[in-house]
């Protein structure tokens, strides 16, 4: 189905957060810390205040009244302490964006700097075991005897993989417009969840939630970075309060690198053992990640190992170190994405070491029930994905020998990796109302560019058995019935469940239906619910330059029932493209000397260009899984990025014989390996 808001978008009528026209709007621009650790000792805003158009300067000289238990990243100007370079320490509000920006540069901040520590390393003395990892998994699990399993193995690998910090980089930079009307605050924000954003903004400002409204009808991507409230939204509200005017803030691309979250760098040690037939005897996945001194965010990168393969001995562990860095957060498939990169690369190494085809190795180790915890799978079609992918990709007859295929000057290789992502559902509300011959669906869901509005239209049309043209979906507004955020690939499953129930009630009532799935959603305990997939890559490597090109990427996914093939394909293909970026080019460079990140624009932080992805194909296997939700759907927003980097890295090894175990796989690293 075509995007229901497609015409509005291509004609420019769809308004994004920074675009709402309001009278008398002022603009805020942030002043950011120039040190990575220490204290602000003085803020000299005199020159800035005297500049044209300046209305106010906000800083810790005049701390606002913010909730003491709010997210420290949002407690703006409440403390003189600096936790990372780029942290917001002041802001200027002015009549125009340019005046605000110019005056912000004129604010003189003096610091008492302290030595900082910004680099994650495997032997960092500050590493500790967190209580839980994102969102609430145990940090460590142990089943069986890993040492014995490795000792008794016919083949083992013991390898370290690492990934750099990565930034979400949605197309639309974060922006907000705060409007005070009497005692009611409306924030037009770029968010993945209007209701959650409203709650956080209200809590941070010490307001009851009914006095805050968040509007976010169109969002230009988020990839997790808009899943939690970001400081710009609080800043806009504080600035509106300080000036009595509506205040708009639009972060620059550079600022996105500082204050909107990122994926932590990860270091993985993987120890795998198998017997002569390829059966795993032990799997040990130990992960090291970083967080800020402000919040404990521990990316759950070893968690997918608890789901993937049958083994008598399974250990997973997470260690975290708190550094003088910005707080990492969610980025597309947190946990699964870096974790499966490492696990699936190590599985490939085991396959090579054991002389077993990498697809067969995975099939041999297919579990009957979830390896950690022992729950039955609600459905699991990894093997079917691998087989179907192998057929479509032309895997059969592949010569496993590395570094032997040439096409002209190019070295050619192929690789495979598995992917997985949990299938979750959250409680949601929705209403369905018959109005003037149309059916209006209302809920505070978010369409962050995925096509959620379109998919919900299709779901409602199906439930009501009417043409989609008679259904209108209103979302992106916290005043609508409460709905969870677009995240964890559970948006559509959660919202769609409520929409189906509301439509069922409308059909009974004839006029109106309201649903709350609190009773039925998010049940757990009985089944392990996950989507699975298989990713295939063909790569060509230039032996003179180390350049890697990927002429073909192919993924097959088993993600329940696919609701809309066009929308699903673009999610899978988008995820795989992002996975290619992770494999070959994406890297935020931590600036060891000054703190923060050294590269912070899209000329320096490379994401794939069209020429990098000539042929990306996504297919799926329809699953009939009765244990999910009324649509029988598993999420599809994140699984596409999971496993892609491993498939490409494995293909690079197959092409060249060189294993680059530290992403991204750059020409420099490959040349060093040749």
């Amino acid at each position: 189905m075509n995007r229901v808001e497609g015409r509005d978008k291509v004609t420019g009528r769809a308004l994004y957060a920074a675009e709402y026209p309001v009278d008398g709007v002022a603009h805020a621009y942030a002043v950011q810390s120039g040190i990575a650790k220490g204290r602000v000792t003085a803020i000299d805003a005199e020159a800035a205040r005297a500049m044209p158009g300046v209305l106010a300067v906000l800083s810790s000289d005049d701390p606002p009244d913010l909730a003491g238990d709010a997210d420290p990243e949002l407690r703006l100007f409440s403390s003189r302490d600096v936790a990372y370079r780029g942290q917001i320490v002041a802001a200027v509000v002015a009549d125009t964006y340019e005046n605000a920006r110019a005056a912000a540069r004129a604010v003189r901040v003096t610091y008492a700097a302290e030595p900082h520590d910004v680099l994650l390393r495997a032997d960092h003395p500050g590493l500790y075991r967190p209580e839980k990892v994102n969102p609430a998994f145990p940090a460590d699990t142990v089943k069986g005897d890993v040492t014995a399993g490795l000792d008794g193995a016919a083949v083992t690998v013991d390898v370290t993989y690492s990934t750099p910090p990565l930034h979400n980089n949605p197309m639309e930079p974060h922006a907000a417009l705060a409007v005070l009307d009497g005692d009611r605050l409306t924030v037009y924000d770029s968010t993945q969840g209007a209701a959650a954003d409203r709650d956080t903004i209200a809590r941070t400002l010490g307001l009851p939630p009914e006095r805050v409204r968040v509007v976010s009808r169109h969002v230009g991507g988020g990839f997790g970075s808009k899943g939690t409230t970001r400081p710009h939204a609080i800043l806009a509200a504080l600035a509106a309060r300080a000036t009595g005017r509506p205040v708009k803030i639009a972060l620059t691309r550079q600022q996105l690198f500082d204050v909107t979250g990122y994926r932590t760098p990860t270091i993985h040690r993987l120890r795998l053992g198998c017997d002569a037939t390829g059966r795993l005897t032990a799997l040990d996945h130990e992960v090291r990640v970083q967080s800020s001194t402000l919040v404990e965010f521990a990316e759950q990168a070893a968690v997918p190992a608890r789901t993937m393969y049958a083994t008598p001995a399974l250990r997973t562990a997470h260690r975290l170190v708190r550094l003088d860095v910005a707080s990492p957060s969610w980025m597309r498939a947190p946990g699964e994405c870096p974790g499966m990169y490492a696990l699936e690369s190590a599985m490939d190494e085991l396959a090579v070491a054991a002389g077993i085809d990498p697809i067969e190795l995975r099939v041999i180790n297919e579990p009957d029930a979830e390896p950690e915890g022992g729950l039955p799978f609600s459905s699991r079609n990894l093997v079917a994905c691998l087989r179907e992918g192998a057929r479509r990709f032309g895997w059969e007859g592949r010569d496993p020998a590395p570094g032997v295929r040439r096409d002209g000057r190019w070295l050619v290789g192929t690789g495979v990796a598995a992917s997985t992502y949990p299938a979750m559902t959250r409680p949601s509300q929705a209403t369905a109302t018959a109005e003037d011959g149309a059916f209006v669906i209302r809920l505070a869901a978010a369409d962050i560019g995925t096509g959620a509005r379109t998919a919900l239209t299709a779901i409602a049309a199906g439930a009501l058995d009417v043409p989609a043209g008679r259904v209108r979906v209103e979302l992106g507004d916290s005043d609508l019935p409460a709905a969870p955020l677009a995240g964890g690939s559970m948006g559509l499953a959660s919202w769609g469940s409520a929409v189906v129930r509301a439509c069922e009630e409308l059909l009974r009532d004839g006029k109106h239906g309201a649903a709350d799935t609190a009773g039925e959603a998010g049940r757990g305990g009985d089944y392990a619910r996950h989507a699975f997939g298989a990713q295939f890559a063909e790569v060509r490597v230039d032996p003179d330059t180390g350049e890697v090109r990927v002429p073909r990427l192919l993924g097959v996914f088993a993600a329940g029932r696919v609701i809309d093939p066009d929308l699903a394909r673009s999610q899978f293909v988008g995820g795989m493209t992002m996975g290619l970026g992770m494999a070959l080019m994406e890297e935020s460079v931590t600036d060891a000397e000054f703190g923060g990140f050294g590269n912070h624009d899209l000329a320096q932080y490379h994401v794939p260009a069209c020429a990098d992805v000539p042929d990306v194909r996504a297919y799926w296997i329809d699953e009939d899984d009765p244990h999910l939700n009324p649509m029988g759907a598993k999420g599809i927003g994140e699984i596409g990025i999971v496993g892609t980097a491993a498939a490409i890295g494995n293909a690079v090894h197959h092409a060249t014989g060189v294993r680059v175990r530290d992403l991204p796989i750059t020409p420099a690293k490959l040349l060093a390996g040749f």
């Binding site: 110019a102 550079q254 330059t545 600036d591 000397e593 912070h600 794939p608 020429a611 020409p667 420099a668």
Partner: protein, 323 residues
């Protein structure tokens, strides 16, 4: 961004005559406007020279004269460029993106500034931006920076692809300024950093590039090879502009070699050329020539890869030009 004035010059003479301290010429603005947003460039006034009548590509005998305001897209697609200087067309079209090339001018392309990350971040020191403040790239991230001709003060690279081809083609840059007109050879417009890294070129304040003159193309075949971290829209890690002519006896009778991505200026590989002239064409000679050039390389820990990369690409380019 600091407030600035904008004016449009009527002709080159007026542009030069009206040039005041604090002015900057504006071409397509694809580099300068970015740097203004970042606070790296803070002109009082922009003198727009992109619409001067310097927008023609004209044959000059067997050579070519290219106006400074010719857009990169037009240059790369011009039939005379494609016919006579395919190396130049390849170089221009390998740079930036279609949209940027539509705006970028020849003059602006030559004078674009380094992409060193510290240079572009006014919150950090940088000798090129703030003389005497230090060069954090040397102990820090120099992974994309120079391996040849750099100094203790600066290890930046010049990012242009076009300039590398121009350096190989012995182009001449016509400038006019307060002290009159002059012609600068390529290489020769750009300088090495020495202890004055703030100066990218030998131009004096107010000097305007009006044209680039190309002598008749060198005999033989030519190529431009560029190594980059993604398939398009990325600056060169290393690039090579090469022309090669081989006599009937298999002896190299003419060679041009210039390197990009390795130095503060497009790098004419004079030592390699000297080693090749009169040598038998073939991989062995090519490798020896590349070594002769790269023996003088002084890589830093994080850009050492550029030396083998440059060697391999020189050899590859010459091999591709060998019938």
């Amino acid at each position: 961004m600091k407030a600035f004035e904008y004016t449009r010059a009527a002709d080159p003479a007026a542009a030069v005559a009206g040039f005041r301290p604090g002015d900057m010429y504006l071409g397509g603005g694809t580099n300068l406007v970015d740097l203004m947003r970042l606070g790296v460039a803070e002109p009082e006034r922009l003198v727009d020279v992109s619409r001067l009548p310097l927008d023609r590509v004209e044959a000059a005998g067997d050579g070519l004269r290219v106006g400074a305001a010719v857009r990169n897209s037009d240059l790369g697609a011009h039939p005379l460029v494609l016919a006579r200087y395919p190396m130049l067309a390849r170089a221009v079209l390998s740079g930036a993106s279609g949209q940027i090339r539509n705006l970028a001018t020849v003059g602006g392309n030559l004078l674009q500034r380094t992409r060193c990350p510290y240079f572009q971040d006014v919150s950090k020191p940088c000798n090129k931006r703030r003389p005497g403040s230090g060069c954090p790239a040397i102990p820090g991230d120099h992974s994309h920076l120079a391996v040849l001709g750099h100094s203790e003060a600066c290890v930046a690279t010049h990012p242009s692809d076009m300039a590398v081809a121009l350096a190989a083609l012995d182009a001449r840059v016509h400038v006019t300024g307060p002290a009159g007109s002059r012609v600068l050879p390529m290489p020769g417009l750009h300088r090495l950093p020495g202890d004055e890294p703030e100066r990218d070129t030998v131009l004096e304040p107010g000097e305007l590039i009006t044209a680039v003159e190309l002598p008749p193309p060198p005999p033989g075949r030519s190529a431009y090879l560029k190594v980059r971290e993604r398939a398009s829209f990325a600056f060169a890690l290393v690039s090579v502009a090469a022309a090669l002519d081989i006599g009937a006896d298999g002896i190299v009778t003419g060679v041009r070699l210039a390197l990009g991505g390795v130095a503060h200026a497009p790098w004419r590989a004079a030592r390699a050329e000297a080693a090749l002239l009169g040598a038998p064409a073939g991989e062995e000679s090519y490798a020896r020539a590349a070594e002769a050039e790269l023996d003088q390389a002084r890589p830093l820990p994080r850009n050492a890869y550029k030396v083998p990369m440059a060697r391999n690409v020189i050899v590859r380019a010459l091999k591709e030009l060998t019938p």
